[in-house]
């Protein structure tokens, strides 16, 4: 185990950037502020446990969705974050609900959970209950609670980044920006979108406290990195936008927890936009309809193919930050929670088209009858 950061000296000292998978890791540059992030050991431990607990809860919830999907009980598609929980939960766990902003993408159940999402929100949406946050009008991974800081993504990849920027800019105008962070997750494939480019350039120009976490899982649907971009490492893009760059092994839970915490904390402290690139592998198909058989054996067997939830477990057990018993407790509690949520949502009615207010407008007086 490469616990480089995890010996007491480092944990209590300055967090140094490192990455096993990206040796060419880019030097960080804070143009507005330089921040030394200091974790006390207690903080690190609590943070790591928080990240890991969210991973466990999220994994169990998603495995449930997967089996409900196979049983034909899910409305719409199922896209899982399996293998990406360490990255995602590390983002959500470092954000403050009710204050910060989170724009999850399609593999961010763990981040949502860590950011405090009620399991019922997800479950209601996947099962088509009219009581979900989107009232069955939009589904599954698109759900959000924008007024509570969770952006409701549209499918068009890359388009959330400028939205997060605008939310923060609004707070700046309102004089409420201090101490806030907006974070968003995105895949390797989505970095090729014009929308991503414009959004990242925008937040960089405005020096907004944004953290962009790229989960480079080597594939966009079936398309490998080699057909997606030509730079050596996506982190090479950070400098071109004038944002700070951080590389991390996305399967190494403790490394994710720390690197992403550092990025979030730096943004919060006024260090400007932060870009984190985590390398890992999607442990499954693109969605549950896909078997991902195009992923070559050698990548599956590489470090990318490690399951971060296993890695995280070993890390916490080794450090003595979690016991087997406690883990079992967490798992049992999460299973119960999942079961409860599913039971509740399954009992709830779907939407009623006859009661539906068929208007896209908030200004209801402009609703027109179309025949």
């Amino acid at each position: 185990m490469n616990g480089l950061l995890m010996n007491e000296k480092n944990v209590c000292g300055t967090v140094k950037e490192r990455s096993r998978l990206a040796p060419q890791s880019v030097e960080m540059k804070y143009r507005d502020a330089y921040l030394t992030v200091i974790f006390t050991m207690g903080q690190t431990k609590e943070h790591a446990r928080k990240v890991y607990q969210a991973m466990v809860r999220s994994r169990l919830l998603e495995m449930k969705f997967s089996s409900l999907y196979k049983a034909g009980q899910i409305v719409g598609g199922v896209y899982l974050g399996k293998g990406q929980e360490a990255v995602s939960a590390s983002v959500g766990a470092r954000l403050e609900p009710g204050k910060d902003i989170f724009a999850p993408l399609i593999r961010d159940q763990a981040g949502r959970t860590a950011f405090g999402e009620d399991m019922l929100d997800a479950t209601r949406t996947y099962l088509g209950s009219a009581q979900g946050p989107m009232k069955a009008r939009d589904g599954n991974i698109h759900r959000g609670r924008p007024s509570e800081g969770v952006v409701a993504m549209i499918s068009h990849l890359g388009s959330s980044l400028s939205v997060v920027g605008g939310m923060l800019k609004a707070r700046e105008i309102q004089g409420k920006l201090a101490g806030c962070v907006g974070a968003t997750c995105i895949g390797d494939g989505a970095t090729s979108t014009g929308s991503f480019h414009e959004g990242l350039n925008y937040v960089a120009v405005e020096k907004l406290p944004v953290v962009v976490v790229v989960a480079n899982n080597q594939f966009a649907y079936s398309t490998p990195n080699s057909k997606q971009y030509a730079c050596v490492d996506l982190i090479d893009r950070a400098q071109g936008y004038g944002v700070a760059g951080h590389s991390v092994d996305g399967t190494d839970m403790l490394a994710c927890a720390e690197t992403i915490a550092k990025a979030v904390d730096t943004a919060r402290a006024g260090g400007g936009p932060q870009m984190v690139v985590a390398k890992l592998l999607r442990l499954g198909g693109h969605g549950e309809h896909d078997d991902g058989s195009y992923i070559p054996e050698e990548i599956r067997n590489s470090t990318y193919g490690r399951d971060c939830i296993e890695v995280g477990k070993q890390q916490l057990l080794e450090k003595g930050w979690l016991s087997e018993e406690e883990l079992t407790e967490w798992q049992e509690a999460a299973k119960m929670e999942v079961q409860e949520a599913v039971k509740t949502a399954q009992k709830e009615a779907g939407p009623n088209p006859y009661n539906e207010d068929w208007s896209a407008l908030a200004e209801s007086r402009f609703k027109e009858a179309h025949t």
């Binding site: 946050p133 989107m134 009232k135 009008r137 939009d138 698109h142 959000g144 609670r145 924008p146 007024s147 952006v151 409701a152 549209i154 499918s155 068009h156 388009s159 959330s160 980044l161 400028s162 939205v163 997060v164 920027g165 605008g166 939310m167 923060l168 800019k169 609004a170 707070r171 105008i173 309102q174 014009g194 929308s195 414009e198 959004g199 350039n201 925008y202 120009v205 208007s359 896209a360 407008l361 908030a362 200004e363 007086r365 402009f366 027109e368 025949t371």
Partner: protein, 321 residues
Amino acid sequence: MSVTYIEAIREAQYKALETDERVFLYGQDIGEFGGAFKATKGLKEKWPDRVMDAPISEDAMIGMAVGAAIEGMRPVVEMQFADFSSVGFNQIVNNAATHYYRTGVPIPITVRMPSGGTPGSGPFHSQSIEAIYSHYPGCIVLTPATVSDAYHMLLEGIALDDPVIYCEHKLLYRWLKSDDFEGDGLPIGKARITRPGKHATVVAYSAMVHEAVRAAEMLQSEGWEIEVVDLRSVKPLDTDTVIASVARTGRLLAVGEAFPWGGVTAEIVSRVVKEAFHLLDAPPMRLNAKDTPIPYHPKLWAAHRPTPESISHALKELLAY
């Protein structure tokens, strides 16, 4: 004192900034420079933090406005030309316009679209694309034809809780003048009878209202009294006022400067025939621009769009039925 259409737009933004601190302006070169058409001249000076220059990133500009709206602001975004909204299109129709239906959180943004043809401007600085934003659900689409409408509808639009596509016609910017911008108090959603008549109804909007009035004047000498209806907004579309006019005249010509396939004029005709078929004494007609890109040369441009001559020509055909 005489105020122009573009001054009315500037004044409305001034007023909005002054009276509602949730309002801010965002666009390319709109800050110190005052905008490509000077619609924001002097505003940055007065509100340095609420008048902001944007990079050449229309997608991000709209995305940013959506985000700010979620947080309770009321952004007014200037597209340098309506034509460039094609690269902010996705954020408008798929993000801003769907957001309220999907999440229950309204997106009160206003997108100012310098629209319409002017001589020598060519295919990418002349477009009238109100129909594109009307076809998708979720936007309100305004098309002011007068100085006072330019003023009041912009203010009213900024106050609405939905995404507003505000199509301002560049040909009217400096040419159209008024003594004031008091207006007649018509709210968004109501069309106006610009010119009363009894033999035929021309329904128009934006700059075409003026061309329609000219055509009506041309026909007056021949004894025809043409009623001109100014739609003011194309979505919502005030079918009632149009039908009331058709009830008086029995004849309908819908005129628009946009491309001829689909669009506002087709929507008008379709609504009128559905609701007021029995009131029609003649087949309802449309007149639009031609089905080619808008040509750059003024001679081609003038023939590409409806003119007083082509409108009166169409009216004669309508009246002869």
